[in-house]
């Protein structure tokens, strides 16, 4: 089944990590996506980035407190929000 045709999961999340989304957080984010069969995009003020690309995510320059949108496609898309929520809580990494 083409992922593009499956209904997208969308939600919003706030970055609570003290130093924003820096290398370590972006790395974890990419790992979460790599561990699941899903395609995840992060959107900041209308600008999307592919969560599997650490450079794409880093270049959004997300500081602590940023409110960002997410879309996830794919069979395991529903498992993504919880993990990202944990990562963005700031207790998991950095």
């Amino acid at each position: 089944m083409n992922r593009k045709t499956t209904p997208a999961l969308t939600w919003e999340s706030r970055v609570n990590n003290p130093k924003g989304i820096h290398c370590r957080v972006a790395t974890r984010l990419a790992e979460i996506v790599a561990n699941h069969d899903a395609e995840v995009r992060i959107i900041n003020q209308g600008e999307p980035a592919d969560c599997s690309s650490i450079l794409d995510v880093l270049s959004l320059g997300l500081a602590q407190g940023s409110l960002v949108g997410f879309t996830a496609h794919g069979p395991e898309a529903d498992k993504i929000p919880v993990e990202i929520e944990r990562l963005f809580s700031g207790f998991d990494a950095g």
């Binding site: 130093k19 924003g20 989304i21 820096h22 290398c23 370590r24 972006a26 790395t27 974890r28 990419a30 790992e31 592919d50 599997s52 690309s53 650490i54 450079l55 794409d56 880093l58 270049s59 959004l60 320059g61 997300l62 500081a63 990494a93």
Partner: protein, 589 residues
């Protein structure tokens, strides 16, 4: 603007080639840029991917090491993020897309991708995240380094023999390009004595230099005619033109074959005046051509290559082997080995503790013997190797760019120290090894009588002597046409040096480009030089001219020329002289 069909440059090395070109562009960031032939695009993509895969493997190994050694999770995540960057689609897919779309080499594509990422990072307001660009830069630099290793012999990437085109070639570029895949060189910059021209001549490959804009007038894959005799390049030649040029080339080659039988004959005039015709070489591999053209020994062995080919100096043992092999090969003929002549455009990167120095005017700066004396580590290394090799043949040690007596004395002190050291260790050497100096600075000409008393031979280096006495930068295309070997000031300086040397009973050789040009070589023979050292392929022709002259005819020519007031008058006289004595070659058609 329309592209002209013919470009006019300076003949750097004779010969004709009709072939496709590969254009190499050097960017400001030093990443070379060149267009790929369509069939080589995927090879380039593979080269890039191989480099990425290698780095990924290296980083994974590094990570595994750390994982065992320590529980430093911070370092581990940094390595993880670097691994992700190597795999990142922005870098991987972005670069590969550019290689395919623009048919351009990986370094250039990667440099553009890095620029793009930099721009995105520059917009980040958060300073902590913005500074993460340092990690991106680190990873990309690593990719560049890996590509560099795979680029060392980039000419191997050409599918057919080509003409290489660039704004200029560095000494390292040209030495690296000695490959059967290369048929000729074209450059925007440079004159007859630029490094590209010198190397091309010694390799026997045609070259046209100083074309100003050849890099923008032709594109990789275009077929051109390179005419190294006239210094012309024909863009988009017709079939007929190509055929005509190949025929013209065959005629020139036939003349070379006619010269071939000169090789085994003595280099002397009809009445028995002998002049040694020896060879200039840059790398030991050239000795084959030296024998092939019948040189009597080596008049100039430039020793920089052994020091430039790696990023560290050669060992004393390696150098000793190179020198003793060379001496043994030519014994009993002399082998003149010049000590390091670096600086300016060809310093090894490890000199000066890897610190590049900025000089406003490198030709008048810290180069050659001055550089050797400032930190004598490499000089003494070389002197010891030379001494150790000295018993294997007839060695003549040549010191470049001497401009005063004290400079010579300082080198002598180092030489004496090296001798004492070897003596103490019981290593045999020739204590009477011949020491000579290059006469290539006007002050050395003026002091020639003083210096002649202190050395065993002179060797006049006309390339630099002309540059320094006429104040002409030989690679500056705006004044290159004023670089005049037949300037009377130059010829009188040569004569003054010869007289000073002969008064002290020492031999005077000459090893500049002038020796390899039959017209100027005739003048030099007239000025009384004992030895002319030139690119090996020029020897048969000069020998032919020498063998059909008499000693008095040559010395008459010399004294007549020394009376003349400018280069124009000298050229006129030469024209008449050559037409009279060599009507077959120089007579009016």
């Amino acid at each position: 603007m329309t592209t002209p069909s013919t470009l006019y440059g300076i003949s750097g090395s004779q010969g004709i080639v009709v072939a496709r070109v590969v254009v190499l562009n050097r960017q400001a960031d030093q990443s070379i840029c060149y267009q790929l032939a369509p069939e080589l695009v995927e090879t380039e993509v593979d080269r890039f991917q191989d480099a990425l895969n290698e780095i990924e493997q290296e980083l994974i190994e590094l990570r595994n090491q750390f994982e065992e050694d320590l529980s430093d999770t911070e370092t581990l995540t940094i390595i993880d993020s670097h691994i992700l960057m190597v795999k990142d689609k922005m870098i991987r897919a972005g670069t590969i897309d550019l290689i395919r779309q623009k048919r351009i080499n990986a370094e250039w594509a990667l440099a553009r991708v890095l620029e793009h990422i930099k721009k995105k990072f520059d917009h980040i307001r958060d300073p902590y995240i913005r500074d993460r660009f340092a990690d991106v830069k680190y990873v990309v630099d690593r990719i560049f380094a890996h590509l560099g290793d795979r680029n060392r012999n980039f000419s191997a990437n050409f599918s057919e023999p080509v003409i290489v085109v660039s704004d200029d070639f560095s000494p390292e570029d040209t030495l690296r390009m000695q490959s059967e895949k290369i048929l000729g060189f074209l450059t925007d910059k440079g004159g007859i004595t630029s490094h590209t021209a010198i190397v091309a001549r010694s390799l026997g490959l045609p070259a046209v230099v100083g074309l100003k804009n050849v890099t923008s007038c032709c594109r990789t894959g275009d077929t051109v005619i390179l005419d190294g005799y006239s210094g012309r390049v024909y863009l988009a030649p017709t079939r007929d033109q190509q055929k005509q040029y190949l025929k013209y080339d065959r005629q020139h080659r036939a003349f070379s074959e006619e010269l071939a039988w000169q090789i085994h004959l003595a280099s002397e005039t009809v009445d028995g005046l002998r002049v040694r015709l020896s060879a200039n070489i840059e790398i030991v591999d050239e000795v084959q051509t030296v024998f092939q053209y019948g040189a009597q020994g080596i008049g100039l062995f430039r020793t920089e290559f052994e020091f430039l080919k790696d990023d560290h100096p050669p060992s004393e043992d390696t150098l000793t082997t190179v020198y003793q092999d060379l001496l043994a090969m030519f014994s009993p003929e002399p082998v003149t080995i010049r000590t390091l002549d670096m600086g300016g455009d060809k310093a090894a990167s490890y000199i000066n503790g890897h610190q590049p120095i900025f000089e406003r005017n490198p030709a008048l700066g810290l180069r050659s013997i001055r550089l050797s004396l400032r930190d004598p580590t490499l000089l003494t290394l070389q002197l010891r190797a030379l001494l150790r090799a000295s018993l294997h043949g007839r060695l003549r040690i040549l010191l470049p760019m001497i401009s005063s007596l004290s400079e010579l004395q300082r080198v002598r002190e180092h030489l004496n120290k090296s001798m004492e050291e070897l003596y103490r260790k019981g290593i045999p050497f020739n204590p009477k090894v011949e020491i000579g100096i290059m006469i290539e600075v006007p002050s050395a000409v003026i002091l020639a009588d003083t210096l002649a008393a202190e050395v065993d031979f002179f060797s006049i280096g006309t390339n630099d002597l002309i540059q320094y006495s006429l104040a002409i930068d030989r690679s500056n295309e705006y004044v290159a046409q004023m670089y005049e070997p037949l300037h009377p000031a130059v010829l009188r300086m040569i004569r003054q040096t010869v007289v000073a040397g002969h008064n002290q009973g020492i031999e005077v050789a000459l090893c500049g480009e002038m020796a390899g040009d039959v017209v100027t070589a005739m003048v030099l023979l007239g000025l009384g030089l004992d030895e002319l050292s030139m690119r090996p392929s020029a020897i048969p022709h000069v020998k032919k001219m020498l063998r059909s002259s008499t000693a008095s005819q040559l010395s008459d020519l010399g004294s007549q020329i020394l009376e003349l007031r400018d280069a124009g008058e000298i050229r006129n006289l030469l024209h008449n002289y050559l037409a009279k004595y060599y009507p077959d070659e120089f007579g009016e058609a």
